[in-house]
Every structure is written in structure tokens, then in C-alpha cells.
Amino acid sequence: MAAGTATVTAAALVTDMVKLLGPERVFHKDVDLKTYTYDSSFVSQINNFTPEVVVMPTSTEEVSRIMRYADQHGVAVTPRGAGSGQTGGSVAVRGGIVMDLSAWDDIVEVDEVNMQVVVRPGVVHAELNNHISSYGLYFPPDPGSSEWATIGGMVANNASGLRAVKYGNTGQYVLGLEVVMPDGQVIRTGGLKSKALKSVSGLNLTGLFLASEGTLGVITEVRLKVWPKPPSRAIVVAYFDRLEDAAQSVLEVFKAGILPSGIEILDDGAIRSVNLFKPQLKLPEVEAAIFFEVNGSKAATEDEGRQIEEIAKRRAGSVEMATDAKRMKELWTGRQAIGAASARAKPNAARIFAGEDVCFPMAKVPEALRRIKEIGREHDTMVVIYGHIGDGNMHTAPIIDPLKPEEVEAAQRVAEDIHRLALEIGGATTGEHGVGFVRAAFMEEEHGAALTVMRRIKDCLDPKGIMNPGKIWAEE
């Protein structure tokens, strides 16, 4: 059988999908299915969540037909973008169909005057920005995975990233969505014909699908607000001998009335990793570095850059301000690469994505950083810290030898303790990556009765439980 509640065999499912889409965009051989058993989460790599079939639809009609079929036959459907998620979100933990939407990457419309774009779900974030830069526009959220993550995946996870401190998350830019519901019905949120930049007409269905992680429907089109591209930017990098000083400097910059477009932290392990990946960067190897990015007019960026430099100098050992395009690109791409490059922090080891995306209240960040280091020491596990310190959203990467079971177990305990720390000091278990499979166990503790309401919404929209089952709600 294709999935828990399916009324169709795997073989029949494949035949029927081929009838719907033709053979080219349906994968069912073991070798192809194997490559859909993972995203970047470690959990997906130590399990074997194999779908029965993978489909690659490229029209709303095709998605709708697949959903109608899945609804009739009780087959689970897991939407998937680039599979860069870190939570097992795009992996078919209950089998069935994986719907790979990454090849459906048309930019349908760029409306320069109304400052909005309409895209299909598979458009890659960086490619959208490359395309609209010739119109002087840009879509500000900036995930570390910008070069490969899809807009569909970003909406479904309400992703954010390096510039969230000033520009917020993806959701703040979504004006409307086309969604194929679990029974195949096609709806449009935000107004059928609307091109308005604001609308409070009716319940906020757009908001409902943000961070829904593919559990409520398939996003097939996104209408995004985009912004004028700031003409100038500058990056100030400050190097600190103490992690706590780095965190304090961030608070002091805010206190001076400056709102940088990005504030990123790298601890010693992260700095070392970036140097190993991009030796030309030559970052001083201290306990912590903070990257401040400012943007706007040339005069404003220079002025704010200089002010930040002055403030940081009070605590930092050294400070570098970059306005040269080449150096800024090197620094920023170096920072973006840490997610995977942190493996280099320790020889013969790897970083694992074990579900560490905690978000702390700003005032508690210095304390949280210290406690995370302690947790690492308690479990004898190296933890590399980097992330969006400007909004308290930290990534804590365990660096272990994944071939050693005792190290894997210790890393899992580290991840568990860090999640508990976030809940204990009034933070969130996930700031941007989502719940997926890996954090479902914390939902009850984090949300209490609100989780029951979420469950009721899910049951109402997806009564047969076929949309990405096994995610967000642990009991499924």
C-alpha cells in the first residue's frame, strides 16, 4: 500500500501518476526515490523515509489533479522545494507522494510600478533577486540558503535570514497566494484580482499558510511585495575577545538609534571554518566576530557605518569597515556559507543539522550564548555558534563524527537541552526553520492549548490527513 490510509497499491499509484503527468516527470525507481529521502536534517539521514513515487508538476491544473487523486485514494502528499530545510519537512515520513516543485520556476510577472512580483513556487530566492535587480527592485529576506532555496519553501517555512533584523521574514512580503487545497480545490488568498499592497479584507488566509510547512495545501503561486534596492551598503566587522562583549555591542548599537540591515555573529569555531573555506578572507581568529550590515543612501551608510565602528571599538579588539564591493561580497558569502562550512571547525568531523534554530529575547542573548557553550561542554560536544544575533535567532551547530554513535547521541542531547533552554528563558524553539519532524515533540510544551486549536484548523482543512503527515503534530 502506498501510505498508511491509502487504498491503492504502490504500483497502481505509479501507473496513475504516469497517466497524469507522463513518464518524464514521475520517478519511481529505487535510485531516484532514495534521493528524496532526505533534506538537510540529520534525522532524515539516519532514517529511511522513502516515498512510493515522486512527481514534478509544472501547472496548477496538474497539482490539482494530483491532489484530487490523493484525496480520493487517501495517499499522503509531501510538497518539496529544494530540500534545504533542516527539519525533515520535505521528507515523506508516512510514504506516499513527494511533490517536487523545484522545477516549476517561472517568474510570471514583474510589476515595477506597483512594486510586486508573481512567481511560481520553484523560483530560487537568489535568482528572483538577480532577475528583478535590473528593475531596481529586491526581495529583502536573505536566507543563508538563498542560492538554492525556493520561494515556495520560504513561504511554507516563513523563512527569514541575515536581514531579518530590519526587513523581517518572508511573510511580511507575501501579498497573496494561490493554493491547491488537500481535496484539489484551487483558492487564491489576498483577493482574487487584488494588486493592493495592503488588505484587511476577511480572515488572513495568507497568514494561515505562512509557516504551514506543506501541512495545509500546496502553494502554487506567490504574489510578493518587493522593495526598491538601496543604492549603497557597508559592512562593519568587529572582532571580540569575549563572546559576551560581542552580544553587548549589538545592544549598544540599537541603543544609539541605529537599525542595521543585518547583524550576524560568528563564534571562534565559525570564524575558523570560514577561514578554512575562504582563506582569502583572513578573519582574525578571536572568540567572536559580529558582522553589521547597513544600507540606504551613500551618506547614510557611511555615517551609520562609522558610528557602529566607534561603538564596537569600545569593546572590540579590532574593527574593519568594508565598502568595497568585492570585499563585501567575500565577507557576506563567507558568512552565508557557515551553515555547511562549520564542519571544517574540527578535523575529521562533520556538522549535523540536528534542529538548532532557537530564538532568544534580545536581553537574554549574552546569557544564552554562555549557557549554550556550557551545554556543549557538559556533553563533551563541540558546538559552533553563528546566526542572526540582531533578532536573537541563533544557530548552534554540533560538530561530531557522525560515524560514532556515542557522539551522535551526545549531539542529540545537546540539541534537546538547547531547545529546553530556549523555552525556559522565554524564547522560541525555532526562529525561522520551522518544526517539521524534528521539533514536533516540543510543540505541546511550547504552545499548550493553542496547539489544539492549530490541530482543529488542520483537521478542518485536511480531514483525511493526507497533507504532509507527521509534521508539526507529533501524535500523527
Binding site: 525507481k29 534521493t35 556538522r351
Partner: protein, 425 residues
């Protein structure tokens, strides 16, 4: 799965965190779009093979061979995964595990699905029979199928020049002016058979720059085609013979005008033998003396600038085996700039693979042609009269792409322009 090709699969594979970044720049994935065509997907397949979750199969071989070994994924990987080397090692394992008939079918599948092309098969036959590439195909009896496939591939080939390079060159060409170095010229199969005039120009340029040039007669194919098809045994045998022949020649340096040959001699040979063995020590010694010709001119002799004007607009395509395998990108451009009259125009994505990758362009013609289309778009956008590149397979592929478009631009090796400038053509 045993450790092979000096590579421990489990240790290398564990570095891949499955972040997905390598989906960004893989030329093959860009055309096919399914995850199994991405570098991350191929690594997952090798991992499944290593852990025993998947058995060796024709389909698995197909996915692993639908790869240009262009190294883009490896160079871009933040985590330091040596993906292309992992794929080569896995091919070796598969070649052994599957045995010939299955492997043959897997390789042929792409080959047989060519659109019907009608050009003569004889030139392809000749290349495959004469070049070292034939060895692997011969061994697997693929050669028997060639006439059929050759129709498809023949359009790729240039008109095969009458006299091969080796017959045109003297055993020792003296240095012009003061002799600075004695250099062994490593003449690769494709240059020898398809572009003998490049061989002549390389030797002339070396000689003009103070080198006594020995065209070593008994060198064999460098072994790159065999490595690509997982035939390590033959590759090792060829490496041994070349090590001996080059050492007998007793030169200060070994220089090649073929990016694949210099990459194989200078880097890959070291992976073929166990550390600590005398052969491994010899590959290391050899590596220190091997140079691509442009790099040699820039870093060792210094370029004697051209004397006569060569009025031409020229763009440059970086071969994967030079830019990524050897990190040589500036030197060929420096050679072009040393030619008076040349107006150099940088193309977009100059280091993106052209889709040739040895026989990939024949075996996976459709994908290769799509990758090539993008390259030719970039070439045409520069409106250059000439495209320079440092690899005979890239030359073949780019020439094919330009011919198909009806473009008048032609492909040259950078040293050819320098030679023309010396001669005043």
C-alpha cells in the same frame, strides 16, 4: 564497499551535510532537475551503495555516469566534499561489481538515444581506435556498437587532420636563443590526432621562449578516459608507463597543451598509488614538474611578447581541468594579452563547463548540447571572432556548437595566437 582509488568512502561521505548548495551550479542538474541528477543526489546514492542500502545496478551506474566530472560541486562545497573524486571511485567499484554486460548497457543507453545524424562514422572510429579512450571501450566491447553511435557523434568531430602531430614534430626541437630549460612535451591523444597544428605551435612557442623541447615518443594516453570509466587498472598501467617514459627523457619540466593531460599527470596520478610506495613517490616528483603550457610561460620562462600584430577580438573559455582542477585561470589570459593586436573580451560564466567532458558529449548528447547552448550564448554575447581555450575536447565541443549556430567564430589555443604573432601571420 571497500576503500578504493586511495579514498575511504565512509570518511569522505560523512562530510556531506546535505545542505543542497551544490544544486546551484551543477550544469547537469540545471538541465535535468530531478534530485538524482544533483551532486547531493549522486553522493546520497554512493552512500546508499556504501552502506548496502542499494545494490549496484544499471540505473545506479546511469545516474553516476550522468555527470561531467567538472568539479564545480567540489570546488563550491562549503563542507569540503571531494564529490567528483568520490564519483570516480564509485565508478571503479561499479565497473567491477556490475561486470561488462550490465555496465555496457548502462553506458550505451545514453549513446543510443541520439537524434538521427548522418555524417560519416569513420572519423569517430578512428579517434576511438587510435586514442587511449578506445582501450576502455574496446575492453567492454562498446567499440562494436560504435558505427551506430558514431553517426550521432561524428558531427562533433573536426575534419581529422591527415598527419598526426607526433609525425610532424622532431624528437628534439632546439631552443631559439639561449637555452634555459629542457622540456618534455607531453602530446595528448586528442591534440595529436585532431589538432596537430596546436602541437606544432606549442613546440614552437616553447622553443621561442628558450626551451629545448623533447617530444617524448613512447608516452601513452594519460589515462583520463579510463579513470572516467572506472578502469583504474588500465589507468594505473598507463601511469606507470608514462612515469617511466618521462623519467627516461630526463627533462627539467613536463609541459602539456591539454588541460586534461596536465591535470591527470600533475594531480590524479598521486591518487592511483598507495602512499609510501616508490610509485607514489615518483608521482609526487612528477607533479612538481608538470605544467600547463600557459602556466609554464607565465611562471617559469616569462612570456616573450609577440612581434607582429594579430588583429582579432578574442574571448576565453576556462576548461574544467584547468580552472578547477589546477586553479589556472589568469595565465592563459596573460598569454592572450601578450599578443599584440588582440582585443580580449571576457565572457559571462567563462568557467562554466561546456558540456563536453571527454565522451560525455557523445554518451549524453542531448544534455551536453543544452549545456553547450548556454556556453555558446555567452560566447556570442561577446561578439568575438575567436574563442580561445586550452583543451582539445573543449575545442571540439565549442567548434561543434559554433558550427551548429552557423557562427563564423573559430576556436584556437592561446599559444596558437602567440605563435602566429611570432611568425607574423
Amino acid at each position: 564497499m571497500e576503500a578504493t582509488y586511495q579514498l575511504d568512502f565512509a570518511q569522505e561521505l560523512k562530510k556531506c551535510v546535505r545542505c543542497g548548495k551544490c544544486r546551484t551550479s551543477c550544469p547537469v542538474f540545471h538541465e535535468l532537475r530531478g534530485e538524482s541528477a544533483s551532486p547531493r543526489g549522486r553522493l546520497a546514492l554512493v552512500k546508499a551503495l556504501q552502506t548496502g542500502e542499494l545494490e549496484p545496478s544499471e540505473e545506479l551506474a546511469d545516474r553516476l555516469y550522468t555527470c561531467l566530472l567538472c568539479k564545480t560541486c567540489a570546488v563550491d562545497c562549503p563542507s569540503g566534499v571531494i564529490s567528483d573524486e568520490i564519483f570516480v571511485a564509485a565508478r571503479e567499484y561499479l565497473a567491477e561489481a556490475l561486470g561488462q554486460p550490465l555496465m555496457q548497457r548502462a553506458l550505451l543507453r545514453g549513446f543510443l538515444t541520439r537524434p538521427g545524424l548522418h555524417a560519416s562514422a569513420s572519423s569517430l572510429m578512428r579517434l576511438y581506435q587510435k586514442s587511449g579512450a578506445a582501450a576502455m571501450l574496446d575492453k567492454t566491447h562498446l567499440i562494436e556498437h560504435l558505427p551506430e553511435k558514431a553517426r550521432a557523434a561524428a558531427r562533433l568531430l573536426p575534419d581529422v587532420a591527415g598527419r598526426p602531430g607526433r609525425k610532424r614534430l622532431r624528437e628534439v626541437t632546439p631552443a631559439q636563443g639561449e637555452k634555459k630549460y629542457r622540456v618534455s612535451y607531453f602530446l595528448g591523444c586528442a591534440t595529436n590526432l585532431l589538432y596537430p597544428e596546436v602541437a606544432e605551435d606549442t613546440v614552437e612557442v616553447l622553443s621561442r621562449n628558450g626551451c629545448e623541447v623533447v617530444t617524448v615518443d613512447d608516452v601513452k594516453c594519460c589515462g583520463m578516459p579510463h579513470l572516467a570509466y572506472g578502469d583504474m587498472e588500465t589507468a594505473r598501467e598507463l601511469a606507470r608507463e608514462n612515469l617511466r617514459a618521462l623519467s627516461d627523457a630526463g627533462s627539467d619540466y613536463v609541459v602539456s597543451d591539454c588541460a586534461s593531460c596536465s591535470a591527470t599527470l600533475g594531480e590524479t596520478y598521486q591518487h592511483l598509488f598507495d602512499a609510501g610506495t616508490p610509485e607514489h613517490a615518483r608521482t609526487k616528483e612528477l607533479a612538481d614538474t608538470v605544467y600547463d603550457v600557459s602556466r609554464f610561460l607565465v611562471e617559469v620562462t616569462g612570456i616573450q611578447p609577440g612581434e607582429h600584430q594579430v588583429e582579432a577580438t578574442v574571448t576565453y573559455h576556462d576548461p574544467c581541468h584547468l580552472s578547477r582542477a589546477q586553479k589556472v585561470t589568469e595565465q592563459p589570459r596573460a598569454v592572450l594579452r601578450a599578443v599584440p593586436g588582440v582585443e580580449f573580451r571576457e565572457m559571462a560564466e567563462a568557467d562554466r563547463c561546456c558540456g563536453s567532458a571527454g565522451s560525455f558529449s557523445v554518451m549524453h548528447h542531448d544534455i551536453s548540447t543544452k549545456i553547450l547552448d548556454r556556453k555558446i550564448d555567452n560566447v556570442e554575447a561577446t561578439q568575438s571572432e575567436l574563442v580561445a581555450t586550452s583543451c582539445p575536447t573543449c575545442t571540439m565541443q565549442l567548434s561543434f556548437g559554433l558550427r551548429e549556430r552557423g557562427s563564423e567564430a573559430t576556436v584556437v589555443h592561446p599559444v596558437q595566437l602567440l605563435a602566429r604573432s611570432y611568425r607574423g601571420e
